[in-house]
Structure formats: C-alpha cells, structure tokens
Amino acid sequence: MLGNPFGLWTLVKREMIRSLKIINQVIWPPIITTLLYVFVFGLALGSRIPNVQGVSYAQFLIPGLIMLQVIDSSYGECSSSLFQGRFMNSIQELLIAPMSALEIVAGYVLGSLARSFLIAGLITGLGIVLVHIAPSDWPLYVSVIAMVSVLFSALGLIFGLVADKFDHIAILTTFIITPLTFVGGVFTSATMLPPALRSLELFNPIFYTIDAFRRSYTGESYLDPAFSLGMIALLAAIALATILRMTAIGYKLRT
C-alpha cells in the first residue's frame, strides 16, 4: 500500500546519501576491480584468446564485469544498510513512522537500484573508453540491470534481516553468490564449456543474468533473452514477496 510516497522517496534519498558518504567503500572499489580485470584478463591475457561472440575477449568481458558488480553492489547495499539499521536501532525511525512494509522495502530497493545504475554507468563508460564497446540494445541493458538489482537487493534485505551479526551477511556472498557469478559466464561463454558443464549452467541463476545482459552488447546469447528475463523476474518476485512478508510481520524488526 503506497500511502506515503514522500516517506518512500525520503528513504531512497537516505540510501543514496549513505552510498555517497561511503564512496571509497562502495563506488570506487568496483570500478578499480573492473579496471584490473580489464587490464589483466582482458588486455594482457585476452590477447591470446580468439574472438568470442564476435568481439575481442576484452570487449566480451565488459558486460560480465558489469553484472558481477551490479549483483555485488545490490546485495551489499541492502544487506549492510538494513543490518546496520537494526544494529544501531536507527531502523526504529522507519518502524514508528507511517510507512508500510511495501514503502520500506521499495525505499531500500530503489536506493540500491540507483547505486547499481551509477556503478553500471561508470563501468559502461570505462568499456567505451578502454575497449571501445557500448551496449547496442539499451532497453535490454536497462531491463536486465533493473531486474537483477531488484532480485539481489531483495536477497540482501532478507539476509540483512536474518543475520544476527555482520559475519552472517557474508555467508551468501562467500559461499554462493561469488562462486556462482564466477562460473556463471563472467569470464567464459557457455559455448566454451564442455556439453556436460553447459547443462549444469542452467541450474545457476546467475548464468541467466549474464547471458541475457551480454546480449545487450554482442547481440548473441546462449538462451532466448525472453526466457532468461522470465527466470530473473520469477526469482525477483519470489525474493520480493518473501522480504515483503518478513517486513510486514515485523520479523526481527518488531518484538
């Protein structure tokens, strides 16, 4: 129920201010990491790899690296902000205000979406300047970033609520998200993999995100992008429904 849109917007602004206040922690590191990946894997080692999906290996890397950082940023933003709010009790400001569960969740998710688009935009700019590649299908580019950011922001909120200490937040990134992202096609095309591994990729949700997103650059993908977008939308809807329910019942928020 959206009865307090300005309350929602205030939370979005608050999340954006938080991102800018900790810019050295959340904005520059993904940019510098991407630069290193492009120089080391793309330009140095990549010169020994033939063209992939019709582009150089360095160009092939860019969309995968954007997805890697969008996933990491969305999850990190929401999980740490919500957990910190619980830890410092500042979340009580939202809980006593006339804001619904939908407005609170949407505020965090939209704040995270803004950060994701900022990071994606900066890396896209790096791709244009360094390896001369830009997206060719902008609607697909924007749709995938938005849907992936919503999915991982919702997961971040779920773990920000479930966690009892900061360490718990890292469990999902360390043991699930990072490994699945690295084997999900950031550095490789599905066509480079042996057939058995290729089938296994279909059980990796992050594969769908990178495969669909890369199509916005190269025009080629292993799967039909509509199918991939459908999978991401389904997962995002499940994650959103879960966090909305948790917030509405006040799980670990209201005693």
Binding site: S90, L95, P98, T255
Partner: protein, 229 residues
C-alpha cells in the same frame, strides 16, 4: 497485553491519558514500561487488547495513529550518515512532510534546543546532552499531538535536566499531551499531573500526583511501598 513465550511482560494494562495531560508512567526496571511504549508506537506487537491514539486504533488505523505520536526513545538511534539538521528533515520526510515549512521548523527546533551551531555536524560529534536535545527536537519535528518520552533525562547533568523540564512544561502548556517514563521520581512529581505506577507488567496505582503524595508522603515512599517485592 504482551507475552514473550511463557513470559508476560505486560499484563492487562488499561489506562487512559487525557488530551493535554502530562502523564507519568513509573515503575522499576523490567516492570514493562518500555514494552508498553513500544506497543503504543508500534515497535512491539501486542498479544491482546487494543491501543487507541486519539481514537485511532494503532493496528487498523496505524498511519493516522503514528502521525500523532512523537517518540524520544531511551537510547539514541540517530542516522549516522546525516547532519543534525538532516536528522530532523529526514525524520519529517518519513512522516510524508517536506518543503520550506519543514526546513524552517527544523531550523526553529535547532535554535530552540541550542543546536544551531552544530546543525551541520553528524550526531557522533556532539555531547550526550546535545543528543538528548536532538532526540526531543526530532520527536517534535512532525508536530505530534502526543509526545512519548522514555527516560528523557537519563545521563544528563542537573542544569540540562532543569532546562529540559522547562521546555517540557512549555510544550505541555501549549497543548501537547506528554507521556513520560523516568526513574527520577522528583522529575515525575514536578512535571506530571497524573501518575501510574507499574510492577511486573500490571498497574498498581493510577492517581493524580497530589493524591499520591497526600498525607506528607514523598513520591519515593509511595513508589517503594508499591513496587518493593
């Protein structure tokens, strides 16, 4: 009523605070004061019963009810990324309020509570007494009709305590209903028109202050007699 598993923290507390009243809600540690406040403001879900804020049920008409309440909690819970001025402006924003009038009200409250010189600092850079005043200013930014104060003078020096009393008297005189919990019994005696004393989650007495301290007994004597195990 509020239960945590088999433990009953608040057991059938029934009270009515009148509009414009300065009401004291006293009790020893663990008596159920903060749990009751949390239930009123929506931070705790009640296990039974109903709470109405100026006629609005705080479960079914929660938006209307919450708009009417300002809370100054026992522990500081400010947003660490905001300046003092933004703490007030963002707090108003969560209530759906914005614009020039809110910016002016924030400046007025900062001025009134002696915080103007620190308006652009983060709350971690100000003293405990200044944080207390900021907490009060934040509770007032959306012009609530009911101000709930959970131990507002805990940990502040005598001078500031007297200053805070003066501000609270003025706010109440201007028509604001005040609901106060405190461990300082002289504070309750000085400020409150009516007092309820709770013990083990139940109200043991609820009377006008002058009736409680009739017959020459101090509020402390009455409190100890009613709450001692």
């Amino acid at each position: 009523m509020k239960r945590y598993g088999s433990f009953t923290a608040v057991d059938g507390i029934s009270l009515r605070v009148r509009v414009g009243e300065f009401f004291g809600f006293l009790g020893p540690n663990g008596a159920g004061k903060t749990t009751s406040i949390n239930a009123i403001v929506g931070l705790a879900r009640t296990s039974g019963g109903a709470i109405r804020i100026f006629g609005h049920d705080n479960r079914t008409q929660w938006r209307q009810a919450r708009r009417l309440i300002g809370l100054s909690p026992q522990e500081y819970n400010f947003d660490r990324y905001l300046s003092l001025r933004d703490v007030l402006i963002f707090a108003a924003g969560y209530y759906g309020l914005h614009g020039k009038a809110i910016a002016e009200r924030a400046d007025m409250l900062l001025e009134r509570f002696g915080l103007s010189a620190h308006a652009h600092l983060e709350y971690t850079k100000i003293s405990g007494g200044q944080k207390r005043r900021l907490s009060l200013a934040r509770a007032l930014i959306h012009q609530p009709s009911l101000l709930i104060l959970d131990e507002p003078t805990a940990g502040v020096d005598v001078e500031l305590r007297l200053e805070l009393w003066e501000w609270l008297r003025k706010l109440n005189a201007d028509g604001l209903t005040v609901f106060l919990t405190t461990h300082y019994l002289e504070e309750a005696e000085q400020l409150c028109r009516r007092i309820a004393i709770v013990r083990d989650g139940r109200i043991v007495t609820e009377k006008p202050t002058e009736e409680l301290v009739a017959d020459g007994a101090s509020l402390q004597d009455v409190f100890l007699e009613l709450t001692r195990s």
